[in-house]
């Protein structure tokens, strides 16, 4: 007697149920990121949102992307953000944090972004794109370093320029001081 294909009572497939659970965690923690008063807690909620997103990638059949998501976004970016916040933040910070005064511009930006995403979702022919793309590591690598090598290199140069710019700014402030 194998486990039934659908969740008992609810009647949706297990993959859908998992997706719903992950999406709920993702949206819930994303909301917490912008509503929590404590900036470190916001950062931790962001970590949990990234983790749920990685889970959704796995569910979509792209474990490589999921691992990269965890490695880069949680392991490096979120940790760096938390690091910077802890380094600069006073424990007795004002309760009303600066970024929460920007609620109206943020709302406008969010609505515009949602519109763009909705437009692109509607405009895409999902029948053509929806066929399963090979997401094995070597296939992905061949695509990245074969067909898309130029965009890849351009992104690399861009990041390098950003690093050099960051170091330059940091050093310039150092000299002035």
């Amino acid at each position: 007697m194998p486990i039934p294909d659908t969740v008992p009572i609810l009647g949706i497939s297990w993959a859908d149920a998992l997706f719903l659970a992950l999406a709920a965690v993702l949206l819930g923690s994303a909301l917490l990121v912008v509503t929590l008063r404590d900036i470190i807690r916001s950062g931790l909620a962001m970590v949990s949102a990234f983790g749920a997103l990685a889970g959704i990638y796995v569910l979509l059949g792209a474990p490589l992307v999921a691992a990269a998501q965890v490695l880069v976004y949680i392991g490096a970016i979120a940790v760096l953000i938390l690091f910077a916040v802890m380094l600069t933040q006073e424990k007795a910070a004002p309760v009303r944090l600066v970024f929460q005064t920007q609620a109206i511009p943020a709302a406008i930006a969010a609505i515009v972004l949602a519109l763009i995403i909705a437009l692109s979702v509607v405009a895409t022919d999902w029948g053509a794109v929806g066929r399963r793309i090979a997401t094995a590591t070597d296939a992905l690598a061949r695509l990245l370093f074969g067909q898309y090598v130029l965009p890849f290199e351009v992104v690399g140069v861009l990041l390098l320029a950003a690093v050099i710019g960051g170091v330059y700014i940091a050093k310039r402030e150092d000299r002035d001081a």
Binding site: L64, L71, G75, V79, F83, A136
Partner: protein, 447 residues
């Protein structure tokens, strides 16, 4: 009624217990047998139909359980090895040679007060040890212990390992920040800086191995190193091993690179405000981490479960236990009794001061030792995975020993030296290793 109570009162304590227990056991046994007969076939069907899921759940449970003895062994090893290096005796009170000392430590930590200081962020404070311990256990999932003995054979196992390993630092930062203590906060900041710096050379150093193997699956990497010890990756990637070893020491927060809890500057770093089992989890995770790092190093560079050389005298069991038939039953029934008596005889005859009972006891203990040795030998000869497990654990504990030895040997470095070393030496070395490996592979092939 009085007759029954009178009879009951005349019984000794043991007979009263027997009088109650035997009928109860009989009834329970009968019920259990019937239930088993009724429920077993459908249960087996259910388990058989969902083999993948069942296998995963069992594997995850086994991993969580196995971390306990692993940590205990390493803690005992650390106490004893460092004591020997300091010309001390080390623990010698509990158990033979103090071997149960770490169990006592565990019980002590469990029974201590789990104190929450004022001013801490309680939920983050409580979740931090969970996060640290969870990531440590999750990285166990992809370590292959023997052919087929891996919790989950992912094809991106190495990437998964480093991704999960990088999560560890989130827990440390949570602990340090939530503690509301400047030493803890500095420990957390150091943990973050150190983890980000050392993760890059750690991950890059493995790229050479991945280029050689053409896969990120840990089982495939081990399988490609089978043969003698000359086929191990360590001969092809010595620089990668060096970089990996140093970076792994920093990632596992081991002395000399344990700046996150440097006692002479930070009291105990991120763990300063922790006590009881919440501290116990950090402690536990650290030692399990030492094993995980050693194991992954063995997998990548020292051939994992493969034996370093072929056993020169192949042993073939002439006797197949299954072919004994009913004889096996007699063997199981008679061997303990006969073995005990035979092993007891020399003591009984040899010394008149040893009573019959004492001689039998000695015989029983000796028989158990012999039987366990014989069973292990039989398993070693008969099953591939026992051999693999043996070599895997033996090699891993060699590196655990190296980590322990390093702790007693090297002085702690300074934080700026630590960061400078990562960026100025380890990272270029790892990059150089990738280039040299790639050039060599494209010139002469993977040979």
């Amino acid at each position: 009624m009085t007759a029954v109570t009178g009879y009951w009162n005349r019984l000794s304590l043991a007979s009263r217990a027997l009088l109650v227990l035997v009928p109860a056991l009989l009834v329970l046994g009968g019920v259990a047998t019937v239930a088993l007969a009724l429920l077993l076939p459908p249960l087996l069907d259910f388990l058989g139909a969902n083999l993948g899921l069942v296998r995963f759940i069992i594997a995850a449970t086994v991993i969580i359980v196995v971390t306990i003895p692993t940590a205990f062994v390493i803690i005992y090893m650390e106490l004893k090895v460092i004591a020997r290096m300091n010309l001390r005796v080390g623990p010698d009170r509990v158990g033979p040679f103090g071997a149960a000392q770490s169990v006592v430590h565990g019980l002590k930590v469990l029974s201590k007060e789990d104190y929450t200081p004022a001013g801490v962020d309680v939920s983050v404070f409580t979740l931090a040890p969970v996060a640290v311990f969870l990531t440590t256990i999750m990285s166990f999932l992809v370590i292959p212990f023997a052919p087929g003995l891996v919790a989950q054979d992912l094809n991106i196992a190495l990437l998964y390992f480093f991704a999960i390993g990088g999560l560890n630092v989130v827990g440390l930062m949570m602990a340090g920040w939530a503690s509301y203590n400047k030493y803890s906060l500095i420990g957390a900041l150091r943990a973050a800086a150190q983890a980000i710096s050392y993760e890059i050379p750690l991950t890059l150093s493995v790229v050479g191995v991945i280029i050689l193997a053409g896969t990120m699956s840990t089982t495939a990497i081990v399988a490609q190193q089978s043969g003698s010890f000359l086929d191990w990756n360590v001969w092809k990637q010595p620089l990668a091993l060096l970089v990996f070893f140093i970076a792994a020491t920093a990632e596992a927060n081991r002395t000399p690179l344990d700046m996150t809890e440097a006692d002479q500057e930070l009291v105990a770093g991120f763990a300063t405000e922790y006590s009881g089992m919440r501290f116990g989890f950090f402690f536990f995770a650290e030692y399990v981490n030492v094993f995980v790092v050693s194991a992954i190093m063995v997998v990548l560079f020292f051939g994992g479960w493969t034996a370093p050389f072929d056993w020169p005298f192949p042993v073939q069991l002439a006797l197949d236990p299954a072919s004994l038939g009913i004889g096996l039953l007699f063997l199981i029934a008679l061997a303990p009794v006969l073995g005990t008596v035979i092993l007891a005889l020399p003591f009984w005859l040899g010394s008149s001061r040893i009573s019959t009972l004492q001689a039998l006891l000695i015989g029983f203990v000796l028989f158990n030792v012999v039987a366990v040795a014989a069973l292990l030998g039989w398993a070693f000869v008969s099953f591939d995975w026992v051999v693999g497990l043996f070599w895997m654990l033996a090699k891993s504990y060699v590196f655990v020993f190296v980590f322990v030895q390093m702790r007693a040997t090297f002085p702690r470095v300074r934080i700026d030296q630590l960061m400078g070393f990562a960026w100025k030496w380890l990272l270029p070395a790892a990059l150089l290793n990738i280039f040299v490996t790639a050039i060599a592979v494209s010139l002469v092939g993977k040979g």
